[in-house]
């Protein structure tokens, strides 16, 4: 891949470094404040249906961030994140349906279970790299729906029929719709998770992860316990995706094996790459991509919706090789440079 790719990779890396930079500039602060205010006002401006769609954007955004932590920051591939999403979703569904827990308790449970699952999966995965890791994680995402259907687990999972759950009402007698409440709930969880990720990735841990990604041998020489870091990263990545799964289950009110096929893994991967690899804000664009690109494709051609979808993916890669967030950053950099020049 030669010279060109090296320069692209280093550009990517610079962007990642900027995105998770230790200190935020004034511009970045104002950007974040503006984004949060926009996020808070959004449900007031659109219909319940749109609010529901944006809830899904946030949910998938969290899942994409999970994958981004693993792939973008630590350089490990995964085609298996649908599995962690499914574990999170089923944890929520089973807790709510069988044991009548309140929905908010399911999030920490889903997170912890996925953290453990991800960590355990990360251990053998340590020995695998690149393609082989892709195959192993792929096996995970193929196996998941089969296990969810498995006869002996049917008591909890509902087998092929899945589990239906009830959508929560707004608490404290708030006079807002279920959709709005769920949006705000998800929004707060998302802010929390994004803040944690930013905190985690900007400091020592983040540097260690990136060192492992860019040069594992050197990282080891620097005294970084690469095995522990890589497994833990898998765990944390799974945690994020699992919490997203739980939130997704609550928003959709239904889980079934067919909701968590390999195609979900692909969608999360596509969201990550088009949103922006190795960037925290890019993950939200990833969520937008997952929800809206298929709708756009359908608008272009319903008879061959997948052909339109595929074409869109390819065009994105042509015109935004660094993803939407990379595109925005580059555009901004070019603008300021031009301004300085004049």
């Amino acid at each position: 891949m030669g010279v060109q790719s090296q320069s692209t990779n280093s550009r990517l890396r610079d962007l990642a470094a900027l995105a998770s930079g230790a200190k935020l500039s004034r511009l970045q602060w104002s950007g974040i404040v503006a984004a949060v205010v926009f996020g808070l006002l959004l449900p007031l401006l659109v219909s319940d249906y749109r609010t529901f769609q944006f809830t899904l954007v946030l949910v998938y955004g969290i899942a994409v961030l999970g994958l981004n932590i693993l792939t973008g920051f630590n350089g490990q591939f995964s085609l298996g994140h649908s599995a962690f999403y499914a574990i999170g979703a089923y944890t929520a569904a089973i807790m709510m349906d069988q044991w009548e827990f309140a929905y908010y308790w399911t999030l920490p449970a889903a997170g912890v279970i996925c953290l453990v699952a991800g960590f355990l999966f990360g251990l053998p995965a340590l020995r695998l790299e690149g393609l082989y890791l892709a195959l192993a994680t792929f096996a995970l995402s193929i196996a998941t729906p089969q296990f969810l259907k498995y006869d002996h687990l049917e008591k909890w999972t509902g087998g092929v029929q899945g589990v239906t759950i009830i959508k929560p009402d707004a608490p404290f007698g708030l006079q807002i719709s279920q959709d709005n409440w769920l949006y705000y709930f998800t929004f707060v969880v998302m802010l929390l998770l994004f803040f944690c990720a930013w905190n985690l990735l900007r400091g020592r841990t983040g540097r260690a992860l990136k060192a492992i990604r860019d040069n594992p041998i050197a990282a080891r020489a620097m005294g970084i316990n690469t095995a522990l870091y890589k497994s833990l990263t898998f765990g944390v990545s799974a945690l994020y995706t699992g919490v997203a799964g739980a939130l997704g289950a609550i928003a959709i009110q239904f889980v079934a094996p067919d909701s968590f096929t390999f195609f979900l893994s692909v969608a999360i991967l596509v969201g990550m790459v088009i949103g922006g690899i190795g960037s925290i804000p890019g993950s939200i664009f990833g969520g937008i991509v997952i929800v809206f690109i298929p709708n756009l494709a359908e608008k272009i051609s319903q008879a061959a919706a997948w052909a339109a979808y595929g074409t869109l993916l390819i065009l994105f890669m042509y015109f935004m090789p660094l993803g939407i967030w990379g595109f925005i950053r580059m555009g901004y950099a070019r603008l300021t440079r031009r301004r300085k020049a004049t």
Binding site: Y132, Q146, V270, M272, I277, W306, Y309, M317
Partner: protein, 292 residues
């Protein structure tokens, strides 16, 4: 015993199909250093082209050659026109383009040829060879053709300058340019050859599973698994891997009671991953020894 033999032969027959696909996978890997997720759908599309030729009355073996030739040209064009702009950006960008291609081929095939299954002729006689009751003649034919293709690939890579140049270009494009290899065309050539081998795989598979747009999906996956199990850098290893996956999957389904047919795919994949944990380059993979 009879059941065991029957299962084993059935596994071998399908293993032949996986092996052929694994070979196509290795081919493109040798030439481009990448796995192409769209390869299965490309093979399916080639098979539809062959199907169309047959309905036009072209004799089977002419169809076979024509389909390979068309696929070769198609593969070269796809690389030159569609994949080229993202070459050398990042692996994930290329993966996304492959996913895009997969979706396009799948959708367009369904759009043109509809989704009802289509019978695809086999060039081999219907009667089982020597009156045996374990394995059909087409199944044997699949194994035979796979081995022939393997041998041809081996000869090509080992003994022709172009084959050598392709391997060099995939391994180290910068150095390859320095000896005058036109790396871009090597990639295109690799795509073309992989597409042609994929077409062979598709035409061998279709008589067994019936032709439809989703025909190759799972077969490509098994092909990947076989290639990785046997060693992605070694065509013979990949062919062995393909056969191994076919037999393994069949026997696990038949003889491991707790797993049964329900979890056999998962189990086979887990087993393969377990093997890879202990032999990260696959069973017969080339271990790259590098002095730093």
């Amino acid at each position: 015993m009879e059941l065991f033999l029957q299962q084993t032969f059935s596994g071998l027959a399908f293993g032949g199909v996986y092996a052929c696909m694994a070979l196509a996978v290795v081919m493109i890997y040798q030439a481009t250093d990448h796995l192409n997720f769209a390869q299965g759908e490309m093979a399916m599309f080639s098979t539809y082209i062959a199907y169309t030729l047959i309905t036009w009355g072209v004799p089977y073996w002419w169809t076979f050659l024509l389909a390979m030739a068309i696929s070769f040209v198609g593969g070269v064009l796809i690389e030159r026109v569609i994949v080229r702009p993202v070459e050398g950006t990042s692996v994930l960008n290329e993966v996304i383009v492959f996913i895009g291609l997969l979706a396009i081929f799948n959708s367009v095939a369904g759009w043109i040829w509809e989704y009802t299954i289509k019978p695809f002729p086999s060039p081999f006689p219907k009667e089982p060879l020597f009156g045996n009751k374990f394995v059909g003649t087409h199944d044997l034919g699949v194994i035979g053709v796979t081995l022939v293709v393997l041998f041809a690939v081996f000869l090509f890579f080992r003994f022709t300058p172009v084959g050598l140049a392709m391997r060099a270009a995939a391994q180290d494009p910068a150095s390859a340019r320095l000896v005058g290899i036109r790396v871009g065309w090597m990639l295109a050539l690799g795509w073309g050859l992989a597409a042609a081998i994929g077409a062979v795989a598709g035409m061998l598979v279709a008589p067994i599973v019936f032709l439809e747009p989703n025909m190759m999906g799972s077969i490509l996956l098994y092909g990947f698994a076989g290639a990785l199990l046997g060693g992605i850098t070694n065509p013979a290893g990949a062919v062995f891997g393909g056969f191994a996956v076919g037999v393994l999957e069949t026997l696990v389904g038949a003889y491991v009671p707790f797993i049964g047919s329900e979890l056999k795919l998962s189990f086979a994949l887990v087993l393969i991953v377990a093997v890879l944990v202990f032999r990260p380059s696959g069973l017969f993979g080339f271990v790259v020894v590098k002095r730093v």
